[in-house]
Amino acid sequence: MTDVQRVLAADGSVVGTVPDLSDERLRELLVHMLRVRCIDERMLKLQRSGRVGFVGSTLGLEGAMIGSAAALRSQDWMWSGLREGGAAVMRGLPLDEYVAQMYCNSNDTAKGRQMCNHFQHKGSHYPSWSSVIGTQLAHGVGAALAASRRGLDEVHAIYCGDGASSSNGFHSGLNFAGVWRAPCVFVLVDNGWAISVSSKAQTAADSYADKGIAYGVRGIEVDGNDVLASLAATEEAVERARAGDGPSLVVLSTYRMLGHSSSDDPTRYRDPAEVDAWAQRDPIDRYEAFLIERGVLAPGGREELAARTLAELDEVIAEQEAADPMSTRTLVEDVYADVPDHLRRQYNEFARIQEAHGEARPGEGAFPL
């Protein structure tokens, strides 16, 4: 079992080597973490009031998410799962697109086809992902191999959770990456729970990082509630991959403070004492204490930043609430590059009924045959 890498102790005191970052960059990390938390709070509120359908909460995971993603360069890709949307915002996903996706409205780049919380952003290399656990690992490895075949300077960061470590995609992904020495980094966010199954019940291995050994993939274990350690460890792995020194498995140990999603009640399966203990290790509290101690943040600065972020977010939410739903024609578009005849006929039959009921909007008429 490898040692757990840590820069900040739970109280924010320095116990490791602080990465060489400017004060501005240090402060930015807090801004991004706070934004993730503000978005989370707002989305849960919207979900409870029935305005968005589903939220995969990220409370407690901000350090792991922001720290690791901050290690990537703009040309690098991020293959995500449920809880990395906030990192996508940091890397370029516009906030209005984020909110549009939560509303699945006509501004959603995925055209409202995915359930809430399934973000994508081509501009910052954040591909569409499916709800099926573990399938993205092999995708990231294949894309990394494609990058090296095409001579592109890209590293592919492939995120997954503790539950995904049991999926066949984890095995094939790490195995292929090891054999091909693909320029990729696996970021396993061990958040303690896969819905209701404890991460201790997911494997008999002493450490998730040890799983890399079987694949010839270097494993590193990191305190995921320490944004600086998450950044430093991921950055080292990313730059090793970039230099052609092969893939790594970076395990960020953290804790999902809320349920699996807005539909889950975690009090049914876990001890509140465990949750309380992790609350004492909050990644933002810890980092705030460090920044104040270092003189980068004034006391009260955090609240000011959060208020500004929430105001900005609320403006975007108001705009997106007013957006139209998708055109019904998107029912049959993007199945193939062109809409084939059989889908045109299926849609046209539907459109005829819509029209008969006076429910067809402009642009929703029949396809030409």
């Binding site: 890709w77 959603d108 780049t109 995925a110 055209k111 086809r113 995915q114 399934h118 994508q120 081509k122 591909p127 569409s128 499916s130 099926v132 399938t135 690992l137 092999a138 995708h139 990231g140 490895v141 294949g142 894309a143 990394a144 191999l145 494609a146 990058a147 075949r149 095409r150 066949n168 995609g169 095995h171 094939s172 992904g173 195995n175 292929f176 054999v179 998107t330 578009e333 993007d334 199945v335 193939y336 590059a337 084939p340 005849d341 059989h342 889908l343 006929r345």
Partner: protein, 324 residues
Amino acid sequence: MATLTIVQAVNDGLKSVMRDDPTVLVLGEDVGPKGGVFLATEGLTDEFGVARCFDTPLSEDGIIGTAVGMAMNGLKPVAEIQFQDFIYPAFDQIVSEAAKLRYRSGGQYTAPMVIRTPYGGGIRGGLYHSQSGEAYFCHTPGLKVVVPSTPHDAKGLLIASILDPDPVLFLEPKALYRSVKGEVPEGSYEVELSTLREVRAGDDVTIFCYGAMVPVVVKAAEQAAEKGIDCHVVDLRTLLPLDEQGVLDAARRTGRVVVVHEAPRFCGYGAEISALIAEHAIEYMEAPVKRVTGFDTPFPNTLEHHYLPDERRVLDAIEQVHSF
């Protein structure tokens, strides 16, 4: 024009397209120096190097999953699954990922890739080297399913599949790999997907078939002709998306239809053809649609010659619908 077998035509198609397009690469189990267990990829590593034709670890899920990622990042992978029977570990990657990517991303991401795999019986391969699983995949919107039956089509359809912007499952009838020879043009050419091939013109009975069943049906049609029944034989060759209008036109031409496939009958491809005709051309029909298929059992071994539709069973069906 060279005279090639189907497996040689596949090989020629791969080479032609790889010469034209440096983004095309081939991956799979044993496809490298060995050239694949059926030699479909023979010589590719020699000509194009190990970067463009290479062996993978033995994991169908990994082969297809990584191919999806390659396709998402600017390459055109042609992945081989050694036998179609072994494709099921990759079913999720095909059905949940490759086929749904364009739709779920609103067209932002696509997976233009080809999965080549030998399918079907006739080689004494038992349960796990003989299956015809096309129906599983034809139930998957977003995927294209192509089945050639001649060397000319094998090459032209394969090249069209590789150049297609959507993922294509390319099912190669292994029973015909070396038993059918035909003229194949040199260099690149495409046979348009979602088009039918009229194998034999006739006005009495229409027979729909594909892949390894085509030569069986042609023989049965010749025997029927000796009995005065003139069969119209149609090779479907793209099962998804199907040229539905072409099928309906062919059914209306004779009003008597037989569908032949190796796969089990229940919820098989013949059921779709039958339903299509029932919905849109029932008024032209002189007889019920008759299906000649494999049994609704796992694929047998020693009795495979009875499991697979043969000329006798097809001829019997032709006579039944003709005399109805």
